[in-house]
Symmetry: C2
């Protein structure tokens, strides 16, 4: 018997070479799995993490979701320590190992509902991207998650261009290709607004994103905001299905994974089966 736990995780991506474990590089998965190996040192092979969004180097997250499976022995070892045990105790221990002031924080550990899979049950991901342009103030306290852009940007043109892209499409033109992976995705929401502090914030939501897609979409709309591309160009580029040098893929630092959506408990297992089937078919 195993028991599945859901982890909700926040991190400042600046000091990480992305989510995925890599030899000799500091990654979020690497740091958390090393802490898990310490916690479960005396009870069999340490648990491994499955994640909703494998963020690139430098990308941040406030609402990352992962899961892990514990054996009965590992569950028992958690309960034995006398601090209440169970899932909340695991969050406290992981954060204790990371230390106060850590750049990664496990905001909660909970028992996952039946059929839950952090990656395959997810029905949408939402990101934001922050740009301080020449029209707005620059806040040094926000510089780790805000791109400072040296030109003024037309936020209204950017918003019009963004909403014109929404829908079910092949995003090959806005993705870094990956062997055997589909580039067909539903872009559910994409808008730009200027926040109260003058910073331009993009909100981008899709069922899933292919590699570097959010940063490409942000770069294309920023080119519109600077007057280098017209609003209509972005749809034309998309439908040519070819990558282009007409805009720049934006740096990782402005990007934050805000939230991952899941169906209600009844729909979880079904969704995971559907997602797997679709991916296998490609």
């Amino acid at each position: 018997m195993t028991c599945r736990l859901r982890l909700d995780i926040a991190y400042d991506g600046s000091g990480f070479s992305g989510w995925s474990r890599q030899p000799a590089l500091r990654t979020v998965q690497g740091v958390l799995e090393a802490a898990l190996a310490t916690i479960f040192a005396r009870s069999g092979p340490p648990p491994v993490l499955t994640v909703a969004g494998r963020t690139d180097a430098g990308v941040h997250a406030l609402g990352q979701v992962a899961h892990l499976d514990l054996t009965d022995e590992q569950l028992d070892s958690l309960a034995r320590r006398g601090d209440g045990g169970g899932a909340p105790a695991l969050a406290r221990r992981l954060n204790g190992i990371a230390g106060l002031d850590s750049d990664v924080w496990v905001s909660s550990v909970t028992l996952a509902p039946s059929g839950f899979d952090a990656r395959f049950s997810a029905i949408w991901r939402r990101y934001e991207y922050r740009v301080a342009d020449a029209n707005g103030p620059r806040n040094p306290l926000e510089r780790a998650r805000t791109l400072w852009y040296p030109a003024p940007l037309d936020d209204q043109a950017m918003d019009v261009a963004a909403s014109g892209l929404v829908g079910l499409h092949d995003w090959a033109a806005y993705c870094k290709p990956r062997e055997g992976a589909t580039t067909i995705r539903t872009l559910q929401d994409f808008r730009w607004t200027r926040a109260d502090d003058g910073v331009l914030v993009a909100s981008v939501k899709a069922d899933a994103f292919c590699h570097s897609m959010v940063r490409a979409l942000v770069g294309a709309t920023v080119a519109v905001g600077e007057g280098k591309l017209a609003v209509a160009d972005l749809v034309v580029l998309r439908d040519q299905l070819q990558r282009t040098s007409a805009y720049k893929v934006m740096p990782a630092k402005g990007l934050v994974l805000l939230q991952v959506g899941y169906p209600d408990d009844a729909g979880l297992a079904e969704r995971a089966l559907q997602t797997r089937a679709r991916r296998d078919a490609v």
Copy 2:
């Protein structure tokens, strides 16, 4: 003839040994005056900065104010460079030297009104202090300006204790003494609220603060929030005029200088004279 300029400045204090220039240490004043020395390398002694709030090591600022005086020759040298010249050009050059992604940002340089003195004309300073306690989430992207506190804190008790301290008093008990400096100040506003993101935020405003006063006030109210002191204790401690170990002076990292207030232009010179006279009399 000289011309006085007002500088509005923001910085992340994490990488600075405070505002004030010190040999061999990186300070905000030191970095900005070095940039001024570069800009005015060929036109006499470089300008020096006078500041509203000499923040300690690790303290941040979003609304710091300073002034400097330029000679006619220095003004001419600004105008000659052909980028529009004048005060805005000085902001662009200072930020250009600091570089994109710098931890200090000059948000504006403007001609100061007659009689303006960044330090002596100021009529109030407003700070905030941010604490993420065990009741709220911890955002790694905000950790440079938020103290992570391991216990739950009662924000309502803290707010009651804070507002009970407001008024014109001798703050010797809440200050690090400085030779020949008065500790009589008007605490104009002091409150605690829990922000939408669950972080406790103190807003503290006074005509001026003596050394370490904000961090002592924050520490005393946090002791109330943790149940280590009663609300009424803080007034008793204050009126004993003696420093105490009943609470801890809080770390610099949670503290941000938000805003400095000045009278309207007509009142500026008069205010500066009053402030100087009062300080000289002590």
